[in-house]
């Protein structure tokens, strides 16, 4: 009986996974790129580095902190007008990706900044002394030297996004979180709730394992 009910929900499950996958995919791809650029800017505008600029450094740092200290649900609501303008709707996984992306950009930017700070200043100085341009330093020194840290940052960001995407689901984004609320909570179907939780755990585990492996393989220190 219970099994049959779960089976009858199969199309709903599939749709929910697809929506979650969309939200994760869109926001992760966008936030890794934008987050990297922002994190790099934050790092390189610091004292003694090649794009030293106190004003830029402080302003971007402050903006990031403002966004990061806003609880995600509130950010979601605050960004509804922007979402409407960008996607033409506030419902569905693509619309939900807007606020997810914004939250993940600033999150990943800080992680990028932290892993770039781990790069030996002496090595950056050596590259400068040999006449490397800022872009050569980024490509030949910062990226390879910080790569394991950057990958770990992507892993952490992706896993946070799984959690955030479930939250975004509640306010119309769809996905696994939405499914859990609609069936598990409103209709008291604990079994549905359990299945979604198990699926979320599996997604997180897979992300973690892949991320760890890439980071470990890249670590030459």
């Amino acid at each position: 009986m219970g099994n049959q009910y779960l089976l009858s929900l199969w199309p709903d499950f599939l749709k929910a996974f697809w929506e979650t996958f969309q939200m994760l995919g869109i926001s992760l791809v966008l936030s890794i790129d934008a987050g990297f650029v922002l994190g790099l800017l934050l790092f390189a505008s610091d004292r003694g580095l090649f794009w030293e600029n106190r004003l830029l450094h402080n302003i971007s740092g402050f903006l990031i902190n403002v966004i990061r200290s806003t609880p995600f649900v509130i950010l979601l609501v605050l960004l509804l007008p922007l979402t409407q303008r960008l996607t033409g709707t506030t419902i569905g996984p693509v619309a939900a990706s807007v606020s997810l992306t914004v939250a993940a950009i600033v999150f990943y930017a800080r992680l990028v900044q932290a892993s770039l700070c781990e790069v030996d200043r002496g090595v950056i100085e050596a590259a400068t002394a040999f006449g490397a341009s800022p872009f050569q330093i980024i490509k030949e020194v910062l990226l390879p030297e910080a790569f394991p840290g950057l990958v770990r940052g992507v892993t952490v960001t992706a896993i946070s996004l799984v959690g955030y995407s479930a939250m975004a689901g509640i306010v119309g984004g769809g996905g696994v979180g939405d499914l859990a609320i609609r069936f598990g909570y409103y209709r008291y179907r604990t079994d549905v709730m359990l299945v979604t939780v198990v699926v979320l755990i599996i997604i997180v585990q897979v992300i973690q394992i892949i991320g760890d492996k890439i980071a470990r393989d890249a670590d030459k220190k």
């Binding site: 050596a126 400068t128 002394a129 040999f130 006449g131 050569q136 220190k221």
Partner: protein, 335 residues
């Protein structure tokens, strides 16, 4: 070749302005191995870093081959830097690149063709004796090997100037000597102009031809290494030289010696014999050699003797005066 003209560097500290380099003027000639020696915090690294503008001088000019580079930036500055090699105390190799790629790095930066890079990397690694580690990562190398890679990398773009900031200070004694010998050999072979920082006179003595002594941002003494060793003028130089010559006498000898104890420094090997016997005959004193050695600085011998002079007061005094006229310097330790 390199002229540092009245250069000052100021740092804005949390409480007050710090003048790490204060009005230093030096001129380094083509082919010199120029040493900069001084205590920690004297401003040696800061001064050295002004030469490739890793540190912009607050005042003054840096002139390389009659070109004032102080205001250079962007691509012009990068071109200048590509012709100035630099090696570091902490090696500063790129951890995620192999030995080959580390040495190739400056050439890739300069846009050299791939085939030329490969050939030159092999040549450089042979020069520093590290061909067998060509595909190793830095983490698998010893400190001495890392510095050899650092030296090969610094020479990659065939620079005419090599800056060395305490190249051997992170290494043990034996490895230090091997690295210094390597640098000396490279200087002999390539005739490259070198600037080398150290806080030890013994390192300067081993490789440098000229030296500047720094203290609190100022050059207090400068000259030919042999002459600085033979007759140091400033008290800091004197203590650095004395430390390096290492002619310490045991307390017991110092305490029990009657008469005068003097340290005489003379140039050349054979000079002392007739001087001492002349003095003994002339002034009727006894002279006892307590300690002595001959140092070779730039292949010139420099002798140091610690003498115990006994006899009547007048004779001892006359002997000391006589020694002063016949040797490079005489220091009365006591008596």
């Amino acid at each position: 070749m390199v002229t540092i003209d009245n250069v000052s560097v100021e740092f804005h500290g949390t409480q007050r302005l710090l003048r790490a380099v204060n009005g230093v003027s030096l001129s380094i000639r083509e082919g010199d191995v120029f040493g900069i020696v001084g205590t920690s915090g004297a401003g040696k690294s800061t001064l050295l870093r002004t030469i490739n503008l890793l540190q912009k001088p607050t005042f003054g000019r840096v002139v390389i081959d009659s070109v004032d580079i102080t205001c250079y930036s962007g691509i012009d500055l990068r071109r200048v830097r590509q012709k100035i090699g630099m090696i570091f105390q902490q090696f500063n190799l790129i951890h995620t690149k192999t030995v080959f790629d580390n040495v190739a790095f400056p050439m890739r930066i300069a846009g050299k063709p791939q085939t030329e890079i490969a050939k030159r990397v092999l040549y450089l690694l042979e020069l520093v004796g590290l061909l067998d580690k060509i595909y190793a990562y830095p983490s698998k190398l010893s400190g001495g090997q890392k510095q050899r890679v650092g030296i090969a990398r610094a020479l990659a773009n065939d620079p005419r100037i090599l800056l060395c900031d305490e190249p051997a200070s992170a290494l043990d004694l034996e490895t230090t000597n091997a690295i210094l010998d390597l640098l000396k050999g490279i200087h002999r072979k390539l005739g490259i102009t070198m600037l080398l920082i150290s806080h030890e006179m013994s390192v300067i003595k081993k490789v440098c031809t000229r030296v500047a002594v720094m203290s609190e941002g100022v050059v207090v003494e400068e000259g030919n290494v042999y002459n600085i060793f033979a007759s140091p003028q400033h008290s800091l130089t004197q203590s650095l030289v004395a430390h390096s010559l290492d002619l310490e006498l045991p307390e017991r000898v110092l305490g029990s010696a009657k008469g005068a104890l003097v340290k005489a420094v003379y140039k050349g090997i054979k000079a002392e014999e007739p001087v001492l016997s002349d003095a003994i005959r002339e002034f009727g004193v006894g002279i006892n050699v307590l300690h002595g050695k001959i140092e070779y600085i730039n292949d010139q011998p420099l002798g140091v003797l610690i003498l115990n002079i006994t006899g009547n007061e007048q004779g001892v005094g006359q002997t000391i005066e006589y020694l002063r006229t016949r040797t490079a310097s005489v220091e009365v330790i006591h008596g």
